[in-house]
Symmetry: C2
């Protein structure tokens, strides 16, 4: 791979984009440890690589290559870190002191596998199935005590199951293994005591090691006690160090807040309201609200950098996301007010010194690969430290412009246009819209947005690619009401209004953006496609069954909105459709469910799956019954007993899926027949479907720039 | 267990009923070897036990207890047999010579498991998952050559799958393992040669070891070459003993017939026509037909005894099933004509001497446990040889009467009434109808009919139990047309007519039978229930969503007729509904699919499952949404990686399911609250459902015997 200035994007480039998933400055500030998720193409797997970076010399050392890595934390008073790593013997607790290796600190027999496979626990995962010993850990401030959660096989006797236990298995492809979470405490002496055993359904135990809070003589931990379909409940227990006995400290509604953004006044910080600017408010424990002002950003987005408080609690640095030209930055918060650190790129992940004097962040944009930069909150100064991928720095950036569009309802949507390489004015190009909720922002070739849609390869090939966000519900109370009811399941909004807010309005936006681009002379309106996975697959499938605008579509690993999912998502379907797909509610399904509207479709639809979701199968079959060209492709796991994950973790699958997308859109949008292996041997079948199809989408009249057809 | 005359039925009695699944006389006629399927309650598993019975002394010797047993065959010229047995090291080929043990003759490494479990092949099975080495075998007539099929792991690389490969996985709960069938030939020298490797989808290879036909210098074998959704195709190969090279002998449409009933004139025997008597016809290779006459029985039913030809081909003994008072007998066929061997009981399985001078059969009835009897075709004489279960001989037989009923359309149905123990005239009893296609006949407590419906325990408890067959399509050309179109998927009959023939007409029969029993003063019309599994679950679910007659129902391991199954059974659904559950065909689904008609249901519906079928889940959820009392119970396999089988093979599940049925009907039909464990801890939930339910079924007016209400 020559580092030639002006190199073009390849599919391997897309798959190889590194992502920093965790970073921690050493407590003396001399080094940065970080975990990078990357594709090992030769080994055909996703890897997590742990590095330490000497900030003075810029020397980077690889510490470990792991199947899983989590909870990287600096150790106070030392140049050292703790981290959970799976180096082949299950996920365990390690320490990194000096040198180029990690030292095992705590191991728990790892007999339970987590991931999309038979006999596993199915936590949402981007990784291949891996064994877990230590789930989570927490040191006491004086480091005398180590509290941790271990994953263990549970009692295995199968028993008769009833009702909701059965309906939950309607599409269960892999049987989970019985497992439990052991909450344990290890003393400085090494003595290890089992404190409590919790079911894996206890989310506090499984994900947060029971959110322990340390005291002088003991600790308090919280377990989830939610049962059945009631609302969340938890219970607190106090554990005394001397006796190691747990005593209940009371039950409560809800779960103790983990993502509590505590502001300089000791209250909870949040962004509120609707519109292009949002209120930043701190709500005290007594309910009093302090308004900092209205800003073009909001706090609390999990994609933004985290939050840091100075030792005296008077200052904070918060990750924020902007409402227009979406990108990530920082807000420096004190009682005096807010100052933002924001430029045209994103600061998407950071770690700061305890005194908040400076920190290291990942800087990236749609055009710029991730780089470490040094950020000084006081001055707002940003200095480059290290480029994380020479390979990607060598690619000639594509032209990418930020936009805000308005649709016929007066709603705004943000997004970006990726211009075809060597764009020529006056020439019209085919276009593909890529949709995934609100993930179109200044991040570099991020899998969360573009999945296996080869955005950059399309641009190299002469397509416009439009990365377009849903109209944000934050802009308008009515939109917000529709989305809120979708989430909660109940409210005053009718199913039709929920459908309009969360799907139909989005399709109108897509149509109106395309019309604008056609009107502006950029896009050939008869060659427009759409692609999206997950939330994006909802929009894609709805778009092609509501609108005749799209000639080809690619839909990733989705099935939501199909009648078959009712038993799995009753609460949200009650909001969207009013009830089950029968009797009086069937009309509401016919209004929106793609598989019931196949006779409205004229686009050629590809569905790429990690799991053979029933709804996707129903959609495929209804399209074929209506003689609409359609294919469903199922990408395999490592073995017949494992599955791919929602975001594919096997590089060969990512590459094959991207090739399949290249071939699909080249065939259906540009009439290019496939002669290489990209179509996976399906080229003749596509020709047959084209020949035997129902009517294709009617061609749009081409509007010239003077407004006349 | 005391052998007390007049003992009452227990649930353990029902589970312990032995069934002879295979039998073979030694070639010298001195012994009978047979395989009995039985429940090992202590070991909580289903066992196959191989016995040899000395016919002169009556001494029976147990040879082996096996996980699987198949293809028991006598060896010519010896007092010996070959049989496939799994004694713990996978299914292999054994020989039984003298004594009380089986000798291993051929073993093939058994790495592939067959059965309802992850990583297995899912052949229809009544057994726990078991490993298979040797699938099938066939000796050359001179026993110099042993041809056999071995099951082997296949190449395991996962690949991307498309379209129909994906839709087939819509509800796939367990991933099958890749496997192949090796067709092999072992010479007398012991030399073992691989002749061909076939995919497990080749049914000829998998089930019939490629239906080999021996010749002088070699053999001919047949493999299935059907691809995709086209009709069946096969290809013949000739193998020369000297060269061991296979040469194609041509392709053909269809598969070579395995169940070919070849008559005395060298043609194929079959029963034809419609009505209470059917034509017995022999069709020669040139198409000429010889009519033997019209008889009240038919040939070719797989439940009847098999067929035997004398060495000179002039005489045959055929298993038959009667059209009225359904039971099994024998027809002795020669050019001279037909003679039947038929009494009030069944001869359900047999083996005959080569010269057809005599044979041993299993004799049984609804009231009589299975016994071996000696049958002489020449004279028709039947002599008792051995009772197969002293335990069941000791039970005081219930009163069971045979009936034929007519419904409002003039169609007939056969069946039986099991009277409540100590029936008192003038007293009305609750009643439960048990339905499973045409399986109500003179067999003793057969799982094929009564599944886990404790028919005998209900009768002991004071219920009438009506074992009722569907109106036979053989009685009427119109009914036959509807069923034929259901099978083939195409034809002139409308979906409504298919629905009427195969389901609605059956429900009318059930209603009219109940009305008759109420009119006759036997049954309390406000306390009628219905139960059935598989085909019976179709009828049960349709009955409770078409009729208000039933107060409680139990439905076993079904889901057919629900919209969710469309992608899995497109051909038959096209006949029944016209097309997929969308657009113009939805009305046809609403007319019949139980889950779309929950608002018509007033019975309390229990569903007992081996697999969490989507259709059953949909039905349960729609009933609950309509506030109809409903429960779905899922019975577990041995581990979380295995499932129960369609007919349960785990005795504890059978017993628990039967108890659950006792509790369910006692609660909903007789208002008996459950205080023991029979309800599986669900008693309070049932009380809650009864309290919060939608309107129960309206009470029928009680018609007194003089016809006045």
């Amino acid at each position: 791979m020559a580092e030639d200035p002006g190199r073009r994007w390849t599919l391997e480039d897309i798959v190889s984009v590194p992502r920093v998933i965790s970073m921690a400055l050493s407590s003396d500030g001399t080094e940065l440890a970080y975990i990078e998720r990357t594709a090992d193409i030769a080994g055909n797997r996703t890897l997590l690589v742990l590095y330490r970076l000497d900030l003075a010399s810029g020397v980077r050392t690889e510490i470990a290559r792991a199947n899983a890595a989590d909870k990287l934390e600096a150790i106070a008073g030392k140049r050292a870190w703790n981290v959970l790593l799976d180096l082949g013997d299950g996920q365990q607790l390690y320490q990194i002191d000096s040198g180029a290796s990690a030292r095992l600190v705590l191991a728990s027999e790892a007999k339970v596998t987590v991931g999309q496979a038979e006999g596993n626990l199915f936590t949402a995962s981007l990784l291949a199935p891996h064994r877990v010993g230590v789930l989570a850990y927490d040191w006491s401030p004086d480091r005398n005590w180590l509290w941790y959660a271990a994953l263990r096989p549970g009692p295995g006797d199968p028993r008769v199951q009833f009702d909701s236990e059965v309906t939950a298995q309607k599409y269960r492809r892999r049987a989970p293994v019985p497992a439990v979470v052991e909450l344990r405490l290890r003393a400085a002496s090494g003595e290890d005591t089992l404190i409590a055993t919790r079911p894996v359904s206890d989310r506090l135990a499984f994900y947060f090691a029971a959110t322990v809070r340390w005291g002088q003589d003991g600790l308090r931990y919280f377990v989830e006690t939610t049962s059945g379909t009631k609302s969340d409940e938890s219970e607190a227990f106090d554990l005394n160090f001397a006796s190691l006995v747990s005593t209940s400290a009371g039950k409560m509604q809800g779960l103790p807040s983990v993502d509590y953004l505590r502001g300089p006044r000791g209250g909870q910080l949040a962004s509120d309201g609707t519109g292009p600017s949002l209120d930043l408010i701190e709500t005290g424990p007594d309910g009093t609200k302090h308004r900092y002002g209205r800003y073009g950003f909001y706090v609390g987005d999990p994609r933004s950098a985290a939050s840091w408080r100075s030792g005296d609690g008077r200052r904070m640095v918060l990750g924020v996301r902007t409402t227009s030209h979406p990108r990530y930055g920082l807000a420096v918060v004190s009682k005096a007010g807010i100052r933002t650190i924001l430029n045209e790129k994103s600061l998407s992940r950071c770690d700061f010194r305890a005194d908040l004097s400076w920190g290291i962040c990942v800087e990236e944009s749609l055009s710029q690969p991730p780089r470490f930069v040094r950020v000084e909150p006081g001055s707002g100064k940003i200095t480059k430290v290290l480029a994380l991928s020479a390979r990607h720095e060598a690619i000639a950036p594509l032209k990418i412009t930020a936009h805000q569009w308005k649709n016929r309802a007066g709603h705004n949507a943000t997004g970006f246009i990726v211009w075809p390489r060597n764009y020529e004015k006056g020439h019209r190009y085919p276009a593909i819209l890529v949709t995934h909720g609100s993930d179109a922002d200044e991040r570099f070739a991020d899998q969360d947005l573009q999945w296996d849609y080869p955005v950059q390869a399309w641009a190299e090939r002469g397509y416009f690619v439009v990365l377009i966000n849903d109209p944000s519900p934050r802009q308008n109370p009515d939109l917000m009401a529709g989305y809120a009811q979708w989430r909660s399941g109940t409210g005053p909004v009718s199913p039709a209004e929920v459908q309009d807010s969360a799907w139909i309005d989005v399709v109108h936006m897509l149509e109106d953006v395309v019309s604008q681009l056609v009107h502006d002379g950029l896009v050939d309106g008869s060659r427009v496609g759409i692609a999206g996975y997950s939330r994006g697959s909802q929009i894609t499938n709805v778009a092609v069954t509501q609108s005749g605008l799209f000639r080809a579509a690619s839909s990733g690993d989705g099935s939501f909105l199909e009648p078959s999912a009712w038993s799995q998502v009753m609460r949200s379907y009650t909001a969207i459709f009013g009830g089950p797909p029968a009797g009086p509610f069937l009309e509401n399904y016919r209004r929106l469910s793609p598989s019931l509207r196949a006779d409205h479709a004229c686009a050629a639809v590809l569905q790429q799956m990690a799991t053979p979701f029933a709804g996707a199968i129903d959609f495929h079959m209804s399209l074929r019954a209506a003689r609409v060209p359609s294919q469903i492709s199922l990408y395999p796991g490592e073995t017949t007993a494992t599955d791919e994950t929602h975001l594919f973790h096997i590089p060969s699958n990512r590459l094959a899926a991207m090739r399949e997308n290249l071939a699909w859109f080249d065939f259906w949008l540009r009439d290019v027949e496939q002669t290489d292996g990209s179509s996976g041997g399906r080229a003749d079948h596509w020709i047959g479907m084209a020949r035997d199809r129902s009517a294709p989408c009617p061609a749009l009249p081409v509007i010239s720039s003077d407004g006349l057809p």
